[in-house]
């Protein structure tokens, strides 16, 4: 029971490995002056990521290993569960182990890992960042410096039933929440829409709730936290965002069950014909388009950007970025390998294997890829309007506080105004207390 809470190594007094890199960084944004961080050493390294279901990771590594026989990369597979991945990466950082070199970090972990100096600041000029979508690049930054290299992204989209909308004589998917509710009212009059619910996202008390809340707030013109990490949730915009969710639960736009929904629950509800609109990630597209009978909506759905208050809404960003473990060896190899792994060539290859959101703008225009994944143009719009989730180093506390209050509001145990007031207070304490 005890061992879980025990650090494998005491941090006190241990010399910091990346001292050279640190000296070059200095205060935020001042890194350009003075010496640049040095990345030295060539030789075998490791690539650390969650379980790879598609098997394409090893193929990518094989490509690299063929070209660089003396700098081979070994794949270290972590569990599928993101919490477990994060925990193992933190353990590796705290023991200052060199077992992990290049880390596939969830986009929201960047600030935490950078602030603890578990990862090195990266040389921005060595990577083709200008060819990537700007909001995605932002997820890899902490206080103006690049700490993680965009590798794969993820954005929310509105899946909708084309057949039902057509029957109800609705020409366009809704761009605002009001339009969506009006469309639902029309569709529900159809005999085939009996028993259907209007809309669902992810509202179980977990990370998905933070995503959906942040999207609602951003889509109403508000922000959860600003660039400095200061919270701004006690605002009229944020209230309108949360009210959309709260009122939708109250008036039945969102079914009561949705309070237990994670991604897969929503997907099942949509593909068994229980929902007219669904907010989900791109991963769901090929699964719902399967024609083996598992999906009742295979040819009957399409995607649109998320709706908002007065116009198209803003998505949250998911995905993984590549970071360099501060305690690793052979960092020169690692820097090159990260460039290789985040290259367009590799992203095109992974996308051909499994659905996702590439980071390069060019890939969203590729006709061959669009044919395979018709959602790509929508997703690009969604990502261009996207706002990163709060970029604060104590993200775990922030997301816990958001989940606590938003969950209370959507289940009706507190009013949205009170929830936001309490949330603002908690978030302010968290950002001040550190």
């Amino acid at each position: 029971m005890k061992s879980r809470t025990i650090r494998a190594l005491q941090s006190g007094g241990a010399a910091f490995v990346g001292l050279a890199a640190l000296a070059a960084c200095g205060p935020a944004g001042a890194a350009k002056a003075g010496g640049r961080p040095t990345f030295e050493g060539r030789g075998p390294i490791t690539y650390v990521a969650g379980k790879d279901a598609s098997g394409s990771v090893q193929e990518m590594l094989d490509r690299w290993n063929e070209r660089h026989p003396s700098e081979k990369v070994t794949f270290v597979q972590l569990p599928t569960d993101p919490d477990a991945q994060r925990q193992q990466m933190i353990q590796n950082a705290q023991t200052k182990s060199d077992a992990y070199t290049v880390l596939a970090l969830d986009a929201v972990w960047t600030s935490e890992f950078a602030a603890h100096r578990w990862i090195d600041r990266l040389p921005e000029d060595r990577y083709p960042l200008s060819q990537m979508l700007k909001p995605i690049v932002e997820t890899g930054k902490y206080r103006g410096g690049l700490y993680a290299l965009p590798f794969s992204s993820d954005g929310g989209m509105l899946y909708y039933r084309t057949d039902l909308l057509k029957k109800a004589r609705i020409g366009q998917p809704p761009a605002t929440w009001a339009e969506m509710k009006a469309d639902c009212a029309k569709v529900k009059k159809l005999p085939e829409a009996r028993g259907m619910s209007c809309y669902a996202g992810q509202f179980q008390k977990y990370e998905g709730l933070t995503v959906n809340f942040a999207e609602a707030v951003n889509s109403a013109g508000g922000v959860v936290t600003d660039a400095k990490g200061t919270p701004h949730v006690e605002t009229p915009q944020a209230k309108r965002g949360l009210d959309f969710l709260v009122n939708s639960f109250k008036d039945g736009t969102i079914p009561k069950d949705a309070v237990t929904y994670q991604e897969e629950d929503g997907r099942r509800a949509f593909q068994t014909g229980k929902l007219i609109f669904l907010r989900n990630w791109p991963y769901a597209y090929p699964l719902m388009a399967k024609k083996d009978g598992s999906s009742k909506v295979a040819d009957r759905f399409r995607t649109a950007p998320l709706p908002g208050l007065d116009g198209p809404g803003a998505s949250s960003l998911g995905g993984h970025n590549l970071a360099l473990s501060a305690s690793a060896e052979n960092k020169a190899t690692a820097i090159d390998f990260m460039k290789f792994l985040s290259s367009q060539e590799i992203q095109r290859f992974t996308l051909s294997r499994a659905p996702g959101a590439p980071t390069y703008e060019a890939l969203y225009k590729d006709p061959k890829l669009i044919k395979q994944y018709p959602y790509l143009p929508t997703l690009k719009q969604s990502i261009l309007h996207a706002v990163p989730r709060p970029r604060v180093f104590q993200y775990g506390d922030v997301t816990a506080a958001i989940q606590q209050q938003v969950y209370a509001a959507i289940t009706g145990s507190t009013s949205s105004a009170q929830a936001l007031k309490d949330l603002q207070q908690t978030l302010r304490q968290q950002s001040a207390g550190e």
């Binding site: 879980r4 025990i6 100096r117 289940t411």
Partner: protein, 337 residues
């Protein structure tokens, strides 16, 4: 019994049949040998039990390093904060702590009580001779063999809003949302999983009760209920108490079932272990260690109370004096026979 053939036998033979004498005291030589032989065990215990406990105690006195607002980096060293972590648990985070404390206690009391009743019933069934007994025994043990995490996932399916539980009861309960039903879901899943454990231990206890006792009772005209109350229960008590104690200690540190079945940070089912895990996951090892120490003390006190008040026979003896009185005469009779 074969064991009587070694050292005990000659000594027992030498002893005349009068009240048992104290064993000859160990000489300093045998004492040293004993210490030497025990030392590997002690060493292992020190490394895996004592050291982590002490480090946890020490860690609980350290705080979380703050963020240097100028550089944006977290400081390298943990500040020494004394008992502040404990102060925070009972002060600022008090509501959450006491909620978790009562959840832990409530879940422990209800699950262990239900498991004991159901476990005894299972044991009584398994103990009866009937056709297909082996099959029943094996099938009752299946839930116990399933890893908790897996059974958590399994029950999450059952308690899904479109799951079996709602279909069978004809209700539409959102089990994994906050509320008493979440507690109920955890209790049901836990009882399902661990009642067989108590059943198994009680069965072992039942099997050593000799049939003659029951025969005698029947001749004296005792009914089934009377037999159960006056013979089965007292004779199975040592085994039952150990089983209940183990289950209690296990339930007090319940973590995976509520975490997987209902979810993290759900007020209705948050236990003390989950609080400690939550702190550790957010890289606050000081407060996490403080929670763990409090849980340790709580579990320790409960265990102590069990041993003292109920006389749970954990170590396999009831104190030195009685043990010898119980052992030696029997050896002698065996040898004599």
């Amino acid at each position: 019994m074969v064991t009587t053939q070694n050292q005990a036998a000659p000594r027992a033979l030498a002893l005349p049949a009068k009240p048992p004498r104290r064993r000859p005291r160990a000489t300093s030589g045998t004492g040293r040998l004993a210490a030497l032989l025990v030392s590997p065990t002690l060493l292992v215990l020190v490394v895996v039990v004592l050291y982590p406990t002490l480090v946890a105690l020490k860690d609980s006195l350290y705080g979380t390093p703050g963020l240097n607002p100028k550089t944006g980096f977290v400081n390298d060293t943990d500040p020494f904060v004394g008992l502040q972590n404990y102060g925070a648990i009972f002060g600022a985070a008090g509501a959450r702590f006491w909620n978790a404390f009562w959840n832990t206690t409530f879940l422990t009391v209800t699950t262990v009580a239900l498991e004991t009743v159901i476990g005894i019933a299972m044991a009584l069934i398994m103990h009866r001779a009937f056709q297909g007994r082996a099959l029943v025994r094996a099938s009752i043990l299946v839930p116990w063999a399933i890893p908790t995490a897996v059974s958590g996932l399994l029950w999450r399916w059952i308690f899904n809003s479109n799951g079996v539980a709602n279909a069978l009861t004809g209700q539409h309960i959102l089990w994994t949302t906050e509320g008493f039903h979440a507690k109920l879901a955890v209790i049901i899943a836990d009882v399902w999983k661990t009642a067989p454990f108590i059943g198994l231990l009680v069965l072992a206890g039942l099997q050593v009760i000799s049939k003659e006792v029951y025969e005698a009772a029947r001749i004296d005209g005792a009914g089934a209920l009377r037999q159960f109350w006056n013979i089965t229960l007292p004779l199975v008590k040592p085994a039952l108490l150990v089983a209940v104690l183990f289950r209690t200690l296990d339930a007090l540190r319940m973590f995976d079932l509520p975490y997987i079945l209902i979810g993290a940070k759900k007020t209705s089912v948050e236990t003390l272990s989950m609080l400690a895990q939550d702190q550790a996951a957010n890289v606050r090892f000081g407060p996490a260690a403080a929670y763990a120490v409090i849980l340790f003390v709580y579990v320790f006190l409960i265990a102590l109370a069990f041993v003292r008040l109920l006389g749970a026979d954990v170590l396999g003896d009831d104190g030195p004096a009685r043990t010898r009185r119980w052992w030696l005469p029997r050896r002698r009779t065996e040898v004599a026979a």
